[in-house]
Symmetry: C2
Subunit: 454 residues, 2 copies
């Protein structure tokens, strides 16, 4: 009996010893991030010195060179590039747009959606059909839509607590609106910006043309512009809308994912990825989307090195290229992992902004998710209360087919779409503490993943 008690006691003590060690390690991670953090100054450089970095642009190449250099300077065990061909879309001269009511022209702010074709050099002008959904559009039929500009004006639902859910409920208009409009013979598609705020910033973003339909030009209009257009249509259903945009798709360009690595001391063949995407929209500094995720990922490795944590497994910080308009970097990363027979046990992505951490969404089997449960009490003191089934991240998504468990870093979502894909997504909107807490939260999760696997 005594032996049994001693054995049980040693189990309990061993368990609490491990918990205590982990608790102290995580406390040190947060202290390092908040006391000696580098992510904020890195973000300043990436946004203010490099700035916009859409795939294929000179800015994107500068960002590749610079993040490689930063990771080399940190003395990571290995820093390397993964070549990837990316779409190369350019906006050209700034767009013009106005509502014409009789002899009056009222200018409104628009921005071509990424991937859209240009209008003719003279622009396009036509009557406007306002709809809130694709079924509503289809019900109108080709007779009413042909030769018109379709105006998609369904707002993000402000009553959704998580703004990403509201975004998910509206973004079909941006992604597929032009295609649905073209099917019925429309000559253009104007889409209400994906944001809850009422302002004058058109929010750009990706769109795709379906096969077998005419390629019609499509643009985002600011929410204030959308409200004005809607009101004007009520008063003057016969008004016309004019817009002119000068964008084009050039041949694919050569670019890179940038990878930094700390080699595992015990199980170097098991890889844990932590990443963000390096490209941004051409209009934005890309501070929250996704400069934050990039500098936080590098910071995770820096923190581990600074604290003398020698990971058992191999930890990689990955700056993925081309999340915004192609996902080629994420696909290439997973392709290479498969080709090289690499075993990726987990991947963590930060692509929801540099805001206060709330938790992690997990994509994995119920058994894999259950593995995380004992870690939760270690993370709650840092505000990480929302950990469970959820979404991972676009760039790490392709790794799922390799059996990798995906973790999407979930910061507070309230302000993200105030800035998203506009010039307002700039360094000044990022709180140093919020950014650093995010980096620390990711480092704490990576530390636990490294200690215990999945």
């Amino acid at each position: 009996m005594k032996k049994v008690i001693t054995f049980l006691l040693s189990l309990v003590m061993g368990c609490s010893y491990a918990q205590n060690t982990d608790s102290l390690a995580i406390r040190k991670i947060y202290n390092e991030a908040l006391g000696n953090g580098k992510s904020y100054e890195w973000l300043r450089y990436l946004t203010k010195q490099i700035g916009p970095r859409l795939s294929g642009s000179a800015g994107a190449q500068k960002a590749v060179d610079w993040t490689k250099q930063v990771m080399e300077q940190q003395g990571f065990d290995r820093v390397f590039l993964q070549e990837v061909m990316v779409p190369h879309w350019v906006r050209g001269a700034k767009e013009e747009a106005f509502i014409r009511v009789e002899k009056q022209k009222i200018n409104v702010p628009i921005a071509a959606l990424g991937g859209s074709v240009a209008t003719s050099p003279k622009g396009v002008e036509a009557g406007v059909i306002e709809v809130k959904s694709f079924p509503e559009l289809r019900a109108l039929g080709p007779d009413k839509v042909k030769g018109k500009i379709v105006f998609f004006n369904r707002p993000m639902d402000p009553t959704k607590i998580n703004t990403f859910e509201a975004y998910g409920g509206a973004v079909d208009q941006r992604a597929n609106g032009a295609t649905e409009a073209a099917k019925l013979g429309a000559v253009g598609a104007i889409v209400r910006s994906m944001t809850n705020v009422h302002d004058d910033n058109p929010h750009t973003g990706g769109m795709r043309y379906g096969t077998g339909v005419a390629l019609i030009p499509t643009a985002a209009i600011s929410t204030n512009g959308a409200d004005l257009l809607s009101k004007s249509l009520t008063e003057n259903p016969g008004l016309t809308f004019y817009f002119k945009q000068n964008c084009e798709s050039l041949p694919d360009a050569k670019s890179y994912n940038v990878v930094g690595e700390l080699r595992g001391s015990e199980k170097p063949d098991e890889i844990i990825v932590v990443g963000g995407h390096l490209d941004s929209w051409d209009l934005a500094e890309g501070a929250h989307d996704d400069g934050s995720g990039c500098v936080q990922s590098i910071e995770v490795l820096r923190i581990m090195k600074a604290l003398g944590i020698k990971p058992k497994r191999t930890i990689r910080a990955v700056m993925f290229m081309n999340e915004e308009n192609g996902l080629r970097g994420g696909v290439k990363y997973a392709d290479l992992a498969k080709q090289n027979n690499e075993k990726h046990i987990a991947a963590v992505e930060s692509d929801e902004g540099g805001f206060t951490p709330r938790g992690f969404g997990i994509v994995g089997t119920p058994e894999q998710r259950a593995k995380v449960n004992p870690w939760k009490p270690l993370l709650v003191p840092y505000g990480l209360t929302d950990i469970g089934a959820g979404s991972g991240g676009a760039d790490i998504g392709p790794l799922a087919t390799l059996g990798t468990v995906l973790f999407g870093f979930k910061p507070d979502s309230q302000r993200y779409f105030d800035y998203h894909h506009t010039p307002v997504d700039r360094f000044e909107t990022v709180s140093q503490r919020e950014l650093e807490l995010g980096a620390a939260s990711m480092a704490a999760l990576v530390y636990l993943l490294d200690q215990y696997g999945l």
Copy 2:
């Protein structure tokens, strides 16, 4: 046996019915706040049209008149004022300060602390003793301190996750620094601003003189200014510091708490308070501190009315006067409650900014706190995961002696001290969604307090 089962079943069903009713009511509260909220536009008026409103100022009086009018327009059952005499401190002309190293003068940004005396009209100039704590100061003794300016330079600890904890660990310097310095014969006290950011804004705030010591002038210096002064002292220990301030304490002024009320339909004598403080520092628009708490409190009552919720108990929105430099409004409110034999079962205060809600701190007995446990699952879907023993709020504090259970609204704390007590605490730093979510969270708690009591 069958009867027992039926009885138990009816209990369970009754219970889940109530939970379901509450869940729907709370969902409607959030929908109203996020879809038709008024708090943001009210805050715009309070900060942009009225602006700074330190106790005794014309701004404070305007804020009293305007919030009374807003609540009257909302058709609350009763709106009334509670007269209270408040301290009337004025800053006078803007402060001047510089570091003098040999013939060089380097200007630094300072702001007199609220309650401080002026310097002589010519200002004060003296050598500087830098300390991090009162024990360190006392160890120096009068010989080293006499005739000097004491420079309190202990920063807020950036590794504290909750910034209010870091504030609590540094604010003794601001509150009592002048007194401790004067005890040893110092001629002035300069205090590092209470913030984690490195910037050029001196953060003012309240201070008190101890009895029986000389009243020496005291000011906050910006964190950048503090770092510069510290560095300069290392290089030139013999440097002098000059400052001039022109503040004075005028006779107490007449002012008011502003109270709006929805009368209870079943237990009108049981009162639930929801409030914030109406005064702000003279340098600030007081957007987060505490315009947010005021407009959120009015919004709680507006939401209930808009949804047709007829409270069982009496619900009061209270705009307390003079939290910043006297707490006279909070004290007066509790005095009148006692005098009028009013039964205040609960009080909720919002005075930690208009940021994303995280929970509520509770001041009450363990039994009272346990009463709240069944409500937690109703609030978690809205991100309110941090509900438990904590602090209430300065203004509602005096109600504790009447047995009132206090609830301090806890929004995310990361950005609060970036703005606190400076001109940066302006409307533009408030996110509409974050503000509205706060109002909804307070309304949800008030709804549950009203339904179930404590």
